[in-house]
Symmetry: C2
Subunit: 381 residues, 2 copies
Amino acid sequence: MKIALLGHGVVGGGVSNIIDKHETKFTKQLEIVKILVKDASEATDDRMVFNIDDALIDDIDVVVECMGGLDIPFEYISKALKAKKHIVTSNKKVMATYYDELVSLAKENNVSIVFEASVGGGIPVMSNIRHTKKIDDIYDFQGIFNGTTNYILDKMFKEGDSFEDVLKEAQQLGYAEKDPSDDIDGHDVRYKCCLSGNMIWDTSLKLNDITTLGVRTVTQRDIYFGKRHQATLKLIGRGIKKGDSVQVLVQPEYINNYDTLAHVHTNLNCIELNSEYLGSASYIGQGAGKLATAHAVVQDIISLLTNEDVSLVNKSSVSIDNSEFMSNYYVRSKNLELFQDVIYKEIDSDVIITKPLNILKIKELVDKTDDSLMFVAGVSI
Amino acid sequence: MKIALLGHGVVGGGVSNIIDKHETKFTKQLEIVKILVKDASEATDDRMVFNIDDALIDDIDVVVECMGGLDIPFEYISKALKAKKHIVTSNKKVMATYYDELVSLAKENNVSIVFEASVGGGIPVMSNIRHTKKIDDIYDFQGIFNGTTNYILDKMFKEGDSFEDVLKEAQQLGYAEKDPSDDIDGHDVRYKCCLSGNMIWDTSLKLNDITTLGVRTVTQRDIYFGKRHQATLKLIGRGIKKGDSVQVLVQPEYINNYDTLAHVHTNLNCIELNSEYLGSASYIGQGAGKLATAHAVVQDIISLLTNEDVSLVNKSSVSIDNSEFMSNYYVRSKNLELFQDVIYKEIDSDVIITKPLNILKIKELVDKTDDSLMFVAGVSI
């Protein structure tokens, strides 16, 4: 199977590492023929080309996109699909943003598009969803989808460090980007929940419909509130099937310390599926990292090599309806004016627990409140 | 794909439930044609037959063995393999005991033998090992392989109940057999570690070489020792590759409460694999149970249906050498005479922590000691 690799950074470099050097019965059947890099300054190998058209030559079977970004990968993937190449991508942003377009384009051209590495990096979530679905109905999923914020929250819990200090450290370790917004505002989890939901329920979810609360403003006081109540703060993505619609959302939650999820440490991810026959099944592993993500990319290539059924369905008939998702919320803010009618319990002059509220309502109240430092998290009481 | 089902008890009943009633693109292609039951008193369906030869008719593609037991299933599976039928089995005992014979017989007859349901029930461990191995080297595995003992140890930890009371309750709930020896003496974990090791390293391990310590004699004092040291007692199976040999063993261990494994509750199983590229990957789920196990059986049938590569290798050149596995041990006994030279720390008149000892040595000392109530567990100090 002949491969064109787009991008040779962390993930792309890992992919060529595995395919070029590791000799199993399966990897022996793979050959990287072209590697697209930016320009001659990045060329370290005579397979390297600088123009997408030089990568999409006739004898290429699979195009593996590991570039990151949005517009250019979308353009290149579209071009490759039209040239009837299968696509393997680790790019959650492009997959979640253009799911419908890309899945439809793949179908029109009778090729496949697979993206295991885009959700949970090293955890084989997509392939386990694909397997489970063959005979089972998945009711819901929940989990820790982002390693960077799990690292930050875990370190804050364990060491008592401030958010700012741990974020800086995570940036130095390469766990967090220079602009960490995608991680700390929950967008990264949103992409992954979008793709998980689409895989599980054959939907084509719109990113903007996934209600999202992040952890940018979390402080030691918020962590400590959890400690006092035998709970650990985690950034959680969840999806629930309700009749003909689904609830999909991202929010910080206080997880009871009895729950295994509260004990998923460092930058690990943990994703739990609940289905009719299998019951609860959880997968814990590296959510990112060069070789773990590259492993997932190569697994996808091998799924194509072995003719596994990786076809996707994108019914747009099923959509998100979060109007019934209820939770109590922990709210810390200097300005609790808008929350006066929904207080269940006052914890402090600037901290309350709300009555059970719908997530759309809490999101509305948060957006209306004039306090850029406020912090909100789901809590069980 | 035409199926003969051997046995229609808990698992067999679950398998026919899923295949007969659930209509997915995959299950639609499966048909149960014959069901072997003991005699007419068990017949509830006109597919039922009472003689193995009536089940192994020409147009059967796959024989699914869900009978349990050892000698009769071995005879029937061998007969089916010779008749060139693929085998799917949930029977860990027969697979672990006759691994070499059955894998060789399958090869000779050019058919497959698959046994996902035999290890970890609802956790897709075997298929994830199969997947991971395609491109990666698995160094070691460890985990909670037995739901019954995890239920007992978890309940003892949480509620302070005695071993005897929780065992009785587990028997009433159907989690434990009337004769619970296979569970509480560690044999069940031994079968599963044997099969996991064989799958991971292409070995053909002998059951008797897997050093095994059980939890039959555990008391609240032993549980409490863990609590005082921020650790939780679990029955652990583990395997480690060392050069050309492997270490495979079963023993109770005090797991540090920081570790996710310490927070796997009730009758859940948790199996962790460590490999070169993927790093640490853990799977948590129902280790047994009617529908979870049946789900695993049906997944195996679908692997055959979709022509997945499920071929096995049984090199007997790699064998177990546990002579280098070292640990400190917690030992509680009224008779510590033989342990005088290996004491690291005296905890009580009848409780010590040993210096680092090889597991074969500790097993020898345990076997020599005249105290049927003694309890031993690995501990980190």
